[in-house]
């Protein structure tokens, strides 16, 4: 064990444990937010592990997660749009989302400083930008990114009611 893997262990035990609890219990909206935070917590941990093991090739894992993690959240935001909007539009999760984004940015900055100016550093920066931007966008999508405002959500609900009436 070195400092990097120890940090990753602590971050994973705390962050992934908390988001797992959030995803397994509570109202639907909070579960979806927790799912988004889980990928935002895991990607920096993968970067830390890559540094801790001294294997730059492992950065690819964090890259793929930074790309596809938000896409997974978009899947839920898209296909649960109606139910998420029905859930009382609780705008919670803003604080944790920003905290996790700051943590991801901090990890990337520290790793960049350690790597020094090189293509590897730019790759880390790309991962960091994709990670932070992706998760902020995904959390935005969860809180009403699909069917913006009440208009479209109301329209969807109306259509559902209509098809219920037909059925």
């Amino acid at each position: 064990m070195n400092g990097w893997t120890t940090t990753a262990t602590v971050a994973l035990a705390g962050g992934l444990g908390a988001t797992l609890w959030g995803a397994a219990t509570g109202p639907l909206h909070r579960r979806a937010v927790a799912q988004n935070l889980a990928s935002a917590v895991t990607a920096p941990a993968l970067l830390l592990l890559a540094q801790g093991y001294g294997r730059p090739a492992y950065v690819d894992l964090a890259l793929v997660l930074a790309l596809l993690g938000p896409v997974g959240t978009l899947v839920f935001a898209r296909l649960l749009a109606g139910e998420l909007a029905d859930g009382g539009q609780s705008p919670g999760g803003r604080g944790p989302t920003l905290a996790v984004a700051a943590y991801g940015a901090l990890v990337v900055v520290v790793l960049c400083a350690v790597t020094g100016p090189s293509r590897a550093m730019v790759k880390l920066l790309v991962v960091g930008v994709l990670l932070v931007a992706g998760n902020l966008i995904a959390s935005k999508a969860l809180s009403g990114g699909f069917g913006t405002a009440g208009a479209s959500a109301g329209k969807n609900a109306g259509q559902e009611r209509e098809s219920n009436g037909r059925g």
Partner: protein, 60 residues
């Protein structure tokens, strides 16, 4: 205006190609001619996908 549209289309693809090729250079570890060749081809594919995606969303 057909010629103007062609210029704009090729401009869009070129800009995307350059950006994606830069991304490829960042991703790879060792640089050699074959890497550059494959990177150029892959970036072209990505640039065409970017343009196709943008057109599919915006040009109704």
């Amino acid at each position: 205006m057909r010629p103007w549209r062609a210029v704009r289309a090729s401009g869009e693809v070129t800009v995307w190609w350059a950006a994606l090729f830069a991304l490829w250079l960042v991703l790879i570890s060792t640089v050699d001619p074959l890497e550059l060749l494959v990177g150029a081809a892959v970036s072209l594919l990505g640039a065409l996908a970017a343009r196709a995606g943008r057109r599919a969303v915006h040009d109704e």
